[in-house]
Assembly symmetry: C2
Homo-oligomer: 114 residues x 2
Amino acid sequence: MAHSLDTVFAALADPTRRRILGMLLEDDMAVTDVAEPFEMSLAAISKHLTVLTAAGLISQEKRGRVKWCRLEPDALRDASVWMQGFGQFEPVNLDAFERFLESELPGGEKGPSE
Amino acid sequence: MAHSLDTVFAALADPTRRRILGMLLEDDMAVTDVAEPFEMSLAAISKHLTVLTAAGLISQEKRGRVKWCRLEPDALRDASVWMQGFGQFEPVNLDAFERFLESELPGGEKGPSE
DNA sequence: CCTATCGTCAACCGATAGGTTGAATATGGA
DNA sequence: TCCATATTCAACCTATCGGTTGACGATAGG
């Protein structure tokens, strides 16, 4: 384990990558489908997915010609532990979390996957 | 509030900056004292402190000719909430946190401030 | 077999990150 | 007043980041 905090935090620093993680929270997705809502090339998304994989935040499995991306939330645990060391933050507040997810969407659009 | 997740995570992605935060956990410090244990110029540390300040992770107050740096752990709350949205991580485990702090020190040395 | 689709690779680009050095700007103290 | 200390500024350098485009390999399907 122990994908370094360096790579985990660096991966999380990019809004595109955070948005991808949010999308994968709903479901596993193929690379092409991950890319669809973004106004950027498939190659760029492919690179982002590589970064997320390197950080351990997602895993990718190729079935046929489709590569499926799965969220690996456990990779966040180390980083979470590190952050918690700086203070007791209020217990998990999913409403606040959802506000974040929405505030990071571009157009005001909501649904990422269809 | 709402220093962006971009800036907070980007600030946390650098090991020097995480180590500085760990040092400030023990006590407020002057810039020069923050810089002392690092093998890097004072100007470089000053830049790191600027990044941490911009992210809201620390505050700096000038008293006399000395600029004091104080940890602002609240800035981590938003990021923490975001991460918690991906999973319920085990309740605050300070032992694990201390292992991180130590594993990020360079030589095996422990005490940062004296 | 031929072709369309899925995804990556390679080369390139501009912008930013993280470091250096040397000069500049306070401020404190003798 | 003069000097040392504390910190930042400005210019510079190199490496990496995030994006592009076009070619490529692999697989699915008619």
